[in-house]
Amino acid sequence: MHFQGIYADEIVGKAYDRRLLWRFAGYLRPYLWLVGVVLCILPLTTAAKLAQPWLIKQAIDNHIVTGDLAGLPAIAAYFLLLILGESLLSFLEVWLLQYMGQRVMQDIRLELFSHVQRLSASFFDRTPSGSLVTRLTSDVEVLGEMFAAGIITVVGDFLLLAGIVGVMLWMNLQLSLVTFTVLPLLFWITFTFRRRMRGAFRQVRARLANLNTFISESISGVAVVQLFNRQRQEMEEFTRLNGSYRDANMPVITWDAALYAAVETLSSVAVGLLIWYGSGEILAGSLTFGALVAFIQYIEKFFAPIRDLSAKYSVMQGAMAALERLFNLLDCNEVLAEGGGERQIPPGPPLSRGEELPFIRFHDVWFAYNNDDYVLKGFGLEIRRGETIALVGESGGGKTTVTRLLSRLYDVSRGGIELDGSDLKTMPLQGLRRRIGIVLQDPYLFTGTVEENICLGDESVRPRVRGAAALVGAERFIEKLPAGYGEEVRERGSNFSVGERQLISFARAVAFDPEILVLDEATASVDSESERLIQEGLKGLMAGRTTLVVAHRLSTIRDADRIVVIHRGEKVEEGSHDELMAWGGVYYRLHQLQFREAGSGPGQSGR
């Protein structure tokens, strides 16, 4: 059972960028028109960029050198127009890209979130919440960076590069070829470096996930750390994780810097080559002065996006690693199969008294949270409609597990559970769970108001909120709150006492008015007076309703029709209170123990 690798999300895969990108491209589909617009803008801005040095060349060669100033204002006007056009278009471009990026991020976030809602409880047992948080925030954020850095403008960059190469070749073939001798080297360097960076990137992301998980757990458990004076040890562990994250980043930076410097150096080398060769050409008269100037400018413009490309490359690497992790989560299929398909139900033993079908039937249920560590071993139970059944037994015996299986948070490993004669697995999940109202052993409150916590935002439940609160005796303290039902609840209900939280979550189950009520230690943290009030209140409620009560306080279950004793995952006794007392087994012993204590009270058996 139990945990396997907290940090299961360390990704070690092959480099399948193309598949990732292709799949990612699917998310762009709704915004294809935007992509289209951007792709239309790109050639325009590119042209504007290309035309500027060329205009300068014209100005120098045709006007300045010749001293013919008449045409200069016209060229200046064109130039101005180009600048304005370029600015306008590139604003549009940047903005559209960001717009699209934000939309895509939003889509992915929603898809991820919805997907996570469908995942089964066992997934959440295994996965630290910190890592899911990272997935839905930082990882998606990295995708946004990708848009901001402009993956689509990369297309534009390549267009610009091609354009510049074209123009340069057209202006002066030989000079261009000399300048371009640096290009093969450039490609080789970029290619080698990026291969090395990918592995390093993955490690960075994995270590970051560990770090974030640790932080989020520390924040939740800070009181325990302080109470046990463990600050130093936690700090040491944190330092280790923090340091290993920092160290993982260092090689990435080094490679990145090397790539950047290489590009920059090559651009200067190209200028050097240009002058070295071009000066000869000018002397020989085969190159105009204006052309040389234009060439220098073109080279500047040529290397700018490449230099930028190497920066974008880091972003892309990060985005690839993030995509990989996001898609892994989306591909995680730990989902309970929805009902609908018919499943063969193994025939159970013939009904003993030949009367009506049991309402709920656990039939030889075997269940393990992990592998073969069976927590329930051949558990069987039949409950008739309207009955109240109590589950008692030693802590860790499997009571909560029975309730979880009933609401199908997990699927049985063997055997089956039937409700109203049909197997749980054949029913739609939501339909099933709507019929069951459960008070969980660990009450959980959400941030929001008290009222929201009882109705959970379900409008059809809202009218019953007050009635339910009154029934479980939560009304008394809620009405004393400054804002009453509108009182703000902090994270996990931290501004309420544990007993108050339990009462609120009890009220929640009652307000949902379910067909089947499951109370898992629902009054464990409540005082006897309140407990008595709840029991009186519940009497009416439980009439005609099927109820499953888990309780350690035997006093709370005396009204149960039948009591089931679970021991180490097996049903060891079943019957009414009187039957079990007469039987003299586990229940009898528990009962004796508990009521001897209650009877004795504190003073008597002490010192």
């Binding site: 100033l69 924040i219 009462l503 504190p602």
Partner: protein
Amino acid sequence: MGALFLVATNGFALLIPWLLKLAVESVQSPGQAGRSPAWYGGAIIVAALLHGIIRIFSRTTLLHNARRIEYRIRQDLYERLLGLDLAYFNAERTGDLISRFANDLTNVRMLVGFGVLNILNTAVIYSAALFLMWRISPLLTLLAIIPFPVMIMVVKRISAAMFRRSRRAQEELARLTSAVEENVSAAAVVKAYCREEAAIGSFATVSRRYMASNMRMAQLRGLMIPVMAATGALGTLIVLVIGGQKVVAGSLTLGDFVAFNGYLAMLIWPTIIMGWILNLIQRGAASMSRLNEVLLAEAGVSEPAEPLTPEKIEGGVELRDLSFSYEASPTPVLSSISLVIPPGSRLGIVGPVGCGKTTLVRLIARLYPVAGGTLLIDGIDVNRLPLRTLRDAIGFVPQESFLFSRSVAENIAFGREGASRGEIESASSLASLEGDVASFPQGYDTMVGERGITLSGGQKQRTAIARALVKDPAILILDDPLSAVDAATEEEILASLSGYYGQRTVIIVSHRLSALRGCDCIVYLEEGRIVEQGGHDGLLALDGRYAALHREQQLRREMEEI
């Protein structure tokens, strides 16, 4: 070191354009200058190679440095968080804090890394180019930079807005993080109540708001880059027109004109980059202000200025007129509580839900600030006792058992550093956990999941008890420690605890009187006041609330027995 490299890089950054100028001059007037243009071409190549090598070092040094700074800030943040009290954590949302660690810190790192790097680079290139341009023609230089002041004004406007919008976006992101964090932690409730659709709906709202705030940010980002690009290009235009006229008029040589244009071209890219840097700066500053909120947070519970450190804590606790209210609510939770708990005695606390029992025991451990009234431990004001000393003396079983996602053994050993396997085992046998652990596949090395999610309720509670017992404290505080265990286990634990108590001071909170067996004194709390106090028999004789509670629990037994 980094600075040295930077100076070197700067040197080369100046050298290359200088060589370029010389080269252009030698092309323009061959034979005049000493060296051939080709020589300059070669020199440029050599300089570029050297420049590249140094560039690697300077960039690596700076960015590594940024990572180190990030590391330091993260260390500081974490250390600060460990020192803050529960009042702080009640007011903040976990997701918000996580977001500060993750997203805000990233923004700050970008600022100190790429931001600083580019600011330096830009400054160097600007000064180099302007210097060279000035040497050619001061007038043209001035003209060329005319667009810049205009640009700076525009940018200033944008920047201020950017800071505000950035901060807003970071806040929305924190909200989004909190929403995810909460939803994921509450998976069981969401499923049990079929709230998936509702959860998706409210997440969509939060997510959309975040998107909207990002869009507003994007507008500014979109504006910045074209403004910068236009500035550079306008300069070129001015030079072309005015400079061209000067060339024609003969007041400027063609070579100078060309060189001048070359330098101006060098400025285009840094100017564009500047838009991006400004964005980084504003985002970094907004995020830093959020980090500062944590770094500068004042802990209500802090180390005493003049500590009194006793040799050994015996475990006497005295409350004098102690009052307390949570920041959020105006009504006091505890009012004027006075109580003496002699060392080695056992105190029981009972009272209805929400009467302040947990609050009272939390104050003894100083999880919240003790301000109203006095709390004495062995006669020393708790506010003057070093926190470490105080907490070393206290073993605490909180009402809600929080476990870490580590192994069972590690969770128990959390109570005392370096606890041996034997000690862990004997603590867990005191807490009746042994049998359960034996049934786990990996025994004590079984991992328990986040918050102990893979243990049963009672197992979690007993692990928390074992964790407190292994500490061997002078004062043992048990806050409703047996609420989740069955009668048989409860009986077992109580029996072994009564052997363990020995000379320790014990404070037990419970709703069941059975757990208070053997208490010397029992306190009945109601609405934050002690309404009854005394031994079991005395309280029964008083025939008040306690007696009623006892009767109630008795009555149940009798009803059962009928």
